[in-house]
Amino acid sequence: MLILQESLSALNTFYYLLRKAGILLLSLFGVVTLTFVLMHSIPGDPFLQEQAIPEEILRSLYHYYGLDQPWHVQYLRYLKGIITWDLGPSFKYEGRTVNQIISSGFPVSFYLGMMALFIAVTLGTVLGMISAWHRNKWQDHLAAIFSVLGISVPSFLIATLLQYIFCIKLQLLPVARWGTFLHTILPALSMAALPMAFIARLTRTSMVEVLQQDYILTARSKGLSSVRLLMKHVMRNSILPVVTYIGPLTASILTGSFVVEKIFAIPGLGYWFVMSVSNRDYTVILGVTVFYSCLLMCCIFFVDIVYTLIDPRIRTALRR
């Protein structure tokens, strides 16, 4: 009897995940179409910005990029390209394809992003917990100041300030470029500032709410010490809202990477994206946008699943 129940609930969960995956695919499709439409509604000719190009060369360029086909054919070619992971050649960089640019730049950005994520999550939650535990005392106020600063001071200012202080004035760390671990410290910190501030705030609010719950009183009435209380009851209940933030967190780290990679001249995907925007390199812009959007949506989907698994109340709701 129990086995039947268990397998039924597993099936239910499976269908739930399947439904969510379906919605994800639909959204991905929507994004891809949207970017295509946007890109192809750019008025004018992508090549006319340069000096005058002879007719035949223009025609062969058009043919090479497939721009001479009717738009629905272009769309289908584009979709096919995405599925087969062929995003086309770059407009401005001769001989390089979008794929190459992504595969050279992404690992760098990924490494940096993971570092920033790690810093933001660990420092942010610790800061938030200290704030909540010492509510309205000096630790709380100090942490609040840091939080507000982290949210208000734009990442490019933090990056340039850090660069100015640590690289130029104090000469402790390398100014720019990529190579050793030292090169990663300042960029990661700059990218982590805003998310860290958000997480600290979120953790504080969540933990303050948890600490006021009745079951904390029950636990204390059993004779639990503060430390045990924290570990066993408070933490797991407090981090649930933070998990939901990880989606937007990834997005903000991503956009932060544009600025930080430009300032520190790090050859990551953000850097190439910014370059392509300045150069109006349309295939690269299109390809990178699609790539980023898909990545982000998959992250959010993944976080959704994790959240479902952590909170047993949702799991039970799925059983019905």
Partner: protein
């Protein structure tokens, strides 16, 4: 003497029946709470100062923002030029004041557009409900998961640079948050008894919406608006940083910061003044917005 002590009491007015607190309206109570919030008030006063700087600054400056003084390029802050000069010899202070005009204009306009579009869509979704609500929410949800900055960048690439396009791009991506909050508020308020009372008196749906629901939702709406402004200012600075902002010679803080970046090592004031002003403005709006959000939150009423 004992008889007197134990004689029945001649009663005065029953003190326990009196009001414990004088009744205050929701707005008065919220404003009082806001005024008591020191950081928010400090932020407000700094913003007032910044606005006056934006409006009056250029009048008091002997230079125009586009005036080029080639002999005095890259001068540090000093007597003639309060904030120094940039690479074309333009007075940084005047340009900061102009930049304040532009950034504040963009911020406030973005918030207003956000308000109009977001409140319209949100109140439609919230009050009508049903199919329309579902459609709107589906659109909002799918748009929400797309990283908005990417869309803004793409829109800027398509539509070209300029203040108008920045505002359009911000509104297209920004209405979602406001619409969601308005919808949530209206759905909550709809269930309250005073709406039923108004219906029982024969009020039309439109009247209820405009005279009862929206005014009662104003608190969170205003708080959200105040928090939209720093986000808009940041986005403009960010776009300028990527080269997609307003074009020369118009000075927005973002373009000034972008121009000042390569010269940071030798002429740091060219970067730090605009960047510092961006930060302070955002900080003040954030403090004020946070204070408003707390002040208008009905759950925190004493």
């Amino acid at each position: 003497m004992h008889e007197e002590l134990f004689a029945p009491l001649t009663k005065g007015p029953d003190l326990n029946e009196e009001e414990i607190q004088p009744s205050v309206s929701y707005w008065q109570e919220s404003l009082r709470r806001l005024r008591a919030n020191k950081p928010a008030m400090i932020g407000l006063w700094i913003l007032v100062f910044l606005c006056s700087m934006a409006i009056l600054g250029p009048f008091f400056s002997p230079y125009a923002y586009y005036e080029i003084h080639l002999p005095q390029i890259n001068m540090p802050p000093g007597q003639n030029y309060i904030f120094g000069t940039d690479e074309l010899g333009r007075d940084v202070f005047t340009r900061i004041c102009w930049g304040a005009r532009i950034s504040l204009f963009i911020g406030i306009m973005a918030a207003l557009l956000d308000l109009i579009v977001g409140v319209t869509i949100g109140s439609l979704a919230g009050s009508i409900g049903g199919k329309i609500d579902e459609i709107i929410m589906r659109i909002a949800d799918s748009m929400h998961s797309i990283p908005y900055l990417l869309i803004v960048i793409m829109l800027m690439v398509i539509m070209g640079t300029g203040i108008a396009t920045i505002l359009v791009a911000l509104t297209i991506t920004g209405w979602i948050g406001m619409a969601r909050i308005v919808r949530g508020q209206i759905m909550q308020l709809k269930e309250l008894d005073f709406v039923k009372a108004a219906q029982a008196l024969g009020a039309s749906k439109r009247r209820i919406l405009f005279r009862h629901l929206i005014p009662n939702a104003m608190g969170p709406i205003i708080a959200t608006m105040t928090l939209t402004i720093p986000s808009a200012i940041f986005t403009e600075a960010f776009l300028s940083f990527l080269g997609l902002g307003v074009q020369a010679p118009i000075a927005s803080w973002g373009t000034m910061a972008n121009d000042g970046l390569p010269a940071m090592r030798y002429f740091p004031w060219r970067l730090f003044f605009p960047a510092g002003f961006i930060s302070i403005t955002m900080l003040c709006f954030n403090l004020l917005g946070d204070g408003m959000r707390d002040a208008f939150d009905p759950r925190l009423r004493s």
